[in-house]
Amino acid sequence: MSDKPLPTIDPDSAPFWAACGEGRLDLPHCRACARPHFPPRALCPHCHEVGCDWRAAAGTGTIHTFTVARRPAHPGFKDEVPYVVALIDLDEGVRMMSNIVTDDPDAVAIGQRVEVVFDKVTDDLTMPKFQRID
């Protein structure tokens, strides 16, 4: 078991986390305007219609911005500092927070290309993280 804070999965988020467990990064796409959004919710934040379909994302994107945590946000991250938390712009057009998996946090920069990697945290939870592909 992880001693890190884990997501409190709810009906809005369950399909996202379930897909991660199957090695896919699924995003909700609005049935009315076809645009994806994230985090998942009951209505489209762009056109405000209700109802979406889940489709797999390519899993690639670009670092929009990031920070290097020099102090742990929670005791569970004590052994990982310094670690990188980033906002990633997925190629489908949504922005997502995650970690950049790297041995060299100081080499991370805005604009770098990244791809998803899946980290099986517990038997029930797999988290998407990202690593550089250039």
Partner: protein, 389 residues
């Protein structure tokens, strides 16, 4: 002035020692003392209060945290108007606006805005204290230091796009310290230069320890009434000329533009339009400084400088005592006090400056002040424009 035009007639804040409240104080008793002091200043009584506006972190977490009714009981009053909305540290600038509307509408005659926190004494503050419910489940599990990491991400993006430099961020902290050195009530009063700020530990790149606000206890009170009622009171009534609010997101990934403080721009534009004023009319600015980057992005969004120009705007000491743009004149959240939510102190300091009561830190001839609050992780903005007639 119209009879029901809103005015501020009393302000108070809790005296702290080394950032802590006196022994034997609770968040509730702190608010009672602040309320009494602000009402005394106005020449009003607790029994006159019929509007109650409060936000904070005290109370019963679940189910329901009903601060207005908890305080109504504590004070022994039955308000006809209440607001317990929490949009973060900017809630108190929002409350000035909401109280102004309620006073105009005749929903109340005397509105009391309150804040109290024992977070330093209770050691309640951590970098990861938020639960992983709802959209925070996509933020907290990755170890995002909260709220620091989100401000750091904004600073990183601002530096990337505009070339903003660490020493320009540091200038915001140094300016606040220079003002704090003129304020006996400020917690941090030792001399501090740019190099001192840059020598503090990096916490979440690019933000260092001295880019971050203090963690203190603290409380305050603001008393508002109508111009008609104020005419019968002693003391200087401060006019509320304009106000505005806006809010957009709880997770930083949903911020409309990570390098642009959208909600500050919207709130500020609404407040200036209502007041019929422009940024050039402001004599003294009190701008929420949870982090140094918060101030830089607010200065741009409020129109005091152009987009991306805030680093250069502050770099020449413009905001320090004696500078052309007096800002955060009590020492701000960076050097005066920051009890979790700082917004109430933006207004108490603006009022004291407009009354000419700020002693060694008084801005000569200050007639028009702007107080701008930022809440959450650059999530909300609320602005009010105040003036001495």
């Amino acid at each position: 002035m119209g009879a029901r035009d809103p005015v501020i007639v009393g302000v108070a804040d809790t005296a702290l020692v080394e950032g802590k409240m006196a022994a034997g104080t609770t968040p509730l008793s702190m608010q009672a003392h602040a309320a009494k002091a602000a009402l005394d200043e106005a020449g009003l009584r607790v029994a006159d209060v019929d509007g109650l506006l409060v936000a904070g972190a005290w109370g019963q977490p679940r189910p329901g945290n009903m601060m207005p009714i908890a305080l109504a009981e504590y004070f022994g009053i039955r308000p006809s108007f209440a607001d317990g909305t929490n949009i973060g540290g900017s809630s108190f600038e929002m409350f000035v606006g909401h109280a102004a509307m309620a006073l105009r509408q005749g929903m109340c005659e005397v509105a009391l805005i309150l804040y109290g926190s024992d977070q330093r004494s209770a050691r309640a503050r951590t970098l990861g204290g938020r639960p992983t419910y709802y959209s925070l489940q996509y933020e907290v599990p990755w170890g995002q230091p909260t709220p620091l990491g989100s401000y750091a991400m904004a600073a990183q993006r601002h530096m990337h796009l505009y070339g903003t430099r660490p020493e320009q961020l540091a200038e915001v902290a140094v300016s606040a310290r220079e003002w704090a050195r003129l304020n006996p009530a400020a917690m941090m009063r030792d001399e501090m230069g740019i190099d001192d700020v840059l020598a503090t530990a990096m916490i979440a790149d690019p933000l260092r320890r001295a880019d971050c606000c203090l963690v203190t206890d603290g409380g305050g009170a603001i008393v508002m009434t109508t111009a008609e009622r104020a005419a019968d009171l002693d003391g200087t009534a401060i006019d509320v000329l304009g106000f505005g609010e806006s809010m957009s997101h709880i997770t930083i990934g949903a911020m409309p533009d990570v390098a642009w403080h959208t909600t500050a721009a919207e709130a500020g534009a609404r407040a200036f339009a209502m007041a019929g004023l422009t940024p050039g009319d402001i004599d003294v600015a009190e701008i929420y400084d949870s982090f140094t980057i918060t101030v830089l992005m607010s200065l741009e969004a409020l129109g005091f400088c152009g987009r991306g120009e805030s680093g250069a705007f502050v770099a020449d000491g413009r905001t320090r005592p004696g500078g052309a743009f007096p800002m955060n004149t009590n020492g701000g959240g960076l050097s005066f006090a920051h009890p979790g939510m700082y917004g109430i102190f933006l207004v108490t300091e603006a009022v004291r400056q407009l009354r000419g009561e700020a002693g060694p830190r008084q801005v000569p001839g200050a007639r028009v002040a702007l107080a701008h609050g930022t809440g959450g992780t650059l999530s909300s903005g609320a602005t009010c424009i105040l003036a001495r007639r």
